[in-house]
Amino acid sequence: MPVTSNYTHPIRMGRQLIAGALVVLVGLFSAGSAAIADGEVNVYSARKEALIKPLLDRFTEETGIAVKLVTGSPHQLVERMAAEGRNSPADVLITADAGNLAHAKAAGLLQVSESPVLEEAVPERFRDPDKMWWGLSLRARVVVYAPDRVEASDLTTYEGLADPIWSDRLLVRSSSNVYNQSLIASMISAHGEQETENWARGVVSNMARDPKGGDTDQIRAVAAGEGDIAIVNTYYYGRLAASTKSEDREVVEQTRLFFPNQDDRGTHVNVSGAGIAVHAPNPDNAMKLLEYLASPAAQALFAELNHEIPVRNGVAASEIVGAWGAFKQDELPLSKLGDLNRAAIELADRAGWR
């Protein structure tokens, strides 16, 4: 049936549209699929790309094993692994705290990884007793203060932060943040729920403003005078100190770092760690990656990249972190933090810690 040109322009337009759409679809639809072949390892990482990619690149350089990476929030990565089930391409799950590793373990998403190398490198309290996950780098939850407005001797312990002398002076981020949840969990472990809830209420009533922003924001606010003390993680402070921007370094100059509870159980620490997925398609390479991350070279990189504290004994911290000196760490096994996580959140809700 002949189709002629002069009256068909809308149809021609329609066909062109379809053809164009198909070309766009086919042309653009080339996505990288998961690595299942030998010589590869697939990583689900809750550590941000910028904070893990350099380590993975170095691993590839040294072993020739290619690494495929997806980053995301730990909860979502765990949801994704659970949904993908037996076919999940994930070999290794990396998180920035112990609680979420414990959660993945409880969900049956991790497997036992027997490795003398890891056992030697990672101290016992920084790893799962069932060898399902391993801590890789440490961060401490500390107090930053403005020396011109705070007597250093007034700072003692986390417990002391609930003291009315800090009224309208304390800055801390939301309890939605896992670092605060871990801190509350460690308090529950030390004092029980009731006492911890009273403490949390004290902290809330001392707040200079409603919790908002991240740790860096709290440090900046101390320097600017919005509050006098702030509860933050060490590496944020280290990062500011190492910044190329002069205003960041000024913030550090106007503030000091304090390690709480040095006279009793020690400062609360948490780890960034990793475990091997239960359905890992490349378990051998996954193990190689874990062992690499615990190696002295990689541990030094953790320290250098993000001013975290290596879990491995004998690996030096970064120059900035090293300058703060050694400090006593809370000996609480980190696996406990995961167990108490939910209780910590509910407690924060009750205490009005947003």
Binding site: L25, N42, Q76, G85, R86, N87, E346
Partner: protein
């Protein structure tokens, strides 16, 4: 049967019947598919309530509700006033700069809500440059002065209003331009000034469009996570995240989400209801150029200032701050891989836009062909995804996809002894599907309102003239609603460019986008470093936004036909 007498023949009856069946089933099925993840989320409502509920009710639930209600009211009112006001000025009045404002007022659409939130906080918080400068100049201490707290409910309402008003502007302007000149001229002969005819005639006539625009803005505000979390405002969405991911209770979280969806459904029903009452096609087929009011003196200055204010606060200020940060950090952040991110963002957005427009067109047309309740309901539910927070949608998409993959794998293993692995999950197809679920409401809205301009009799006329359902679509609908399709595609494009949570969880290995980069750095408290990616989103988004604005100007009936 090509005898000399037979000059043409009607389409075969059997083929026509088959086509008719495909039309009745296919697109409804598509709508159902898109609606499915929302239903997966809603299905949790039937899981018995856990003790988390009593915990929530005793502690935080009322704060979630209160904040959410205020947010909805604030953003609703704010976008309505700014959006309809600037739309009126730019469609009906003449004043200096109008030709620029006409398209520029849409630019905030290209700015991700989280980006404007970061920039405003960075500029106006206590430790930011503005307040620090004030303290330096006047020697004030912390308690010596009052300054509005950016990171607050009010701040969240403000920044959301500033980037979401273009939805109202967009639809209101299209409505004003389409309005019958007669009504406005009558208004004029009755001695109404521009202000009176705006309030008395144009606004009531444009009500369906205004409700549509405001409900889009509200759905986006409801599903927002980045801004409210950063500003420390607990809303339903932050509550859903906290309950699902931190408390580890998906069913209670989904029940929260379902509660919110009921709220949204109420919003949508309101919109439907208001549209039904105002279901008038154009009463006249003739159009003349719109009469415009010449503004002079202080009136012109005021109009100019109002538009400049919306544009400046919603686009220029955040864009300049992003640019400043980008200049500070470009050496660390911009490299060759950055181009890859931009390309990924662009192609995802482009693909989704194309797919969304096609799916929307087919669904809207099929529902029009067969006006049965199933189709309408499927379409409605498919549009609900816009109000559901991205992460929740992502999980809703992930579960059925992974289930399907596993089923296929089981089958392949049992029958062929081969494992197929994950065919869909973790691929771009699943990601684009998630975008569809999330953003179909945007294109449905645009295509629906465009299709309403094609009267049912045009379909009837075309059908009896020998055009089958698909020919009617291509030869009648598509050319008439071209501008509406373009609008739908570009809105989806811009939304996908900005989308984050679903991208984060659904993307394939080693596949990053600008939004992911911006988010990763920003959530790692490297705001300045995140600026280059956010700025790139804005820059890539500007082009479609400008095309969009031009398309609307030209879509005035009569003028469009005359130029085709």
């Amino acid at each position: 049967m090509a005898s000399a007498e037979v000059v043409w023949k009607a389409p075969s009856v059997r083929r026509a019947r088959a086509k008719s069946f495909v039309w009745s089933a296919g697109p409804i099925l598509a709508a159902g598919l898109v609606a499915f993840p929302v239903l997966v989320v809603l299905a949790n409502v039937f899981v018995p309530a856990t003790d988390v509920w009593s915990h929530l009710a005793n502690t935080v639930l009322w704060r979630y509700i209160g904040n959410t209600v205020w947010l909805v009211l604030g953003v609703g009112l704010g976008t309505l006033i700014i959006g309809s006001g600037t739309a009126w000025l730019c469609s009906m009045c003449r004043f200096p700069g109008r030709s620029v404002f006409e398209w520029a007022l849409l630019l905030p659409l290209a700015v991700p809500t989280y980006a404007i939130a970061f920039t405003y906080a960075g500029m106006f918080e206590f430790a930011g440059p503005v307040q620090s400068a004030l303290r330096d100049w006047f020697g004030w201490g912390r308690r010596d002065y009052w300054f509005p707290e950016v990171r607050s409910l009010g701040g969240a309402i403000t920044v959301m209003t500033l980037v979401l008003y273009p939805y109202v502007y967009l639809l209101a302007r299209a409505a004003f331009l389409n309005q019958s000149v007669c009504a406005l001229e009558i208004g004029r002969t009755l001695g109404r000034n521009p202000w009176q005819s705006f309030l008395g005639i144009a606004l009531p006539l444009a009500r369906p469009a205004l409700v549509g625009g405001v409900s889009l803005a509200l759905m986006e505000a409801l599903s927002d996570f980045g801004t409210v979390q950063y500003y420390g405002v607990d809303t339903f969405t932050t509550g859903i995240y906290r309950t699902w991911f931190a408390l580890g209770d998906p069913s209670a979280a989904a029940q929260l989400a379902a509660t919110m969806l009921v709220f949204v459904a109420a919003l949508i029903l309101t919109e439907q209801w208001s549209r039904r009452r105002a279901r008038y096609h154009h009463t006249t087929n003739r159009f003349r150029p719109l009469p415009t009011y010449d503004l002079r003196g202080w009136r012109a200055a005021l109009a100019c200032a109002a538009c400049a204010g919306a544009l400046g606060l919603g686009f220029l200020l955040p864009a300049v701050q992003l640019a400043v940060w980008t200049i500070e950090t470009w050496q660390q952040t911009i490299d060759l891989r950055f181009l890859g991110l931009a390309w990924n963002s662009f192609r995802l957005a482009a693909m989704t836009a194309v797919v969304a427009v096609i799916v929307t067109l087919l669904v809207c047309y099929a529902v029009r062909l067969r006006t049965n309740a199933t189709g309408r309901v499927a379409k409605r539910v498919a549009g609900l995804g816009y109000a559901v927070p991205g992460s929740v949608i992502a999980v809703g998409v992930l579960l059925p996809f992974a289930w399907l993959d596993t089923a296929i794998d089981d089958f392949a293993r049992a029958v062929f002894g081969v494992s197929t692995g994950l065919l869909l999950t973790g691929g771009l197809a699943a990601l684009i599907f998630a975008y569809l679920v999330r953003f179909l409401a945007v294109s449905l809205n645009a295509v629906d309102s465009a299709m309403a301009k094609v009267t049912p009799n045009m379909d009837g006329a075309a059908r009896t003239l020998g055009a089958g359902p698909d020919a009617v679509l291509w030869r009648v609908h598509v050319p008439i609603i071209r501008a509406g399709l373009l609008t739908a595609g570009l809105l989806v494009f811009v939304d996908v460019m900005k989308e984050l949570p679903a991208t984060l969880i659904m993307r394939p290995f080693d596949f990053n986008t600008l939004a992911v980069r911006a988010y990763e750095l920003a959530s790692d408290e490297l705001l300045a470093e995140s600026a280059s990616a956010a700025l790139a989103i804005v820059v890539v988004g500007i082009v479609p936004v400008i095309i969009l604005s031009r398309a609307i100007t030209r879509a005035r009936p009569g003028e469009a036909a005359g130029s085709s």
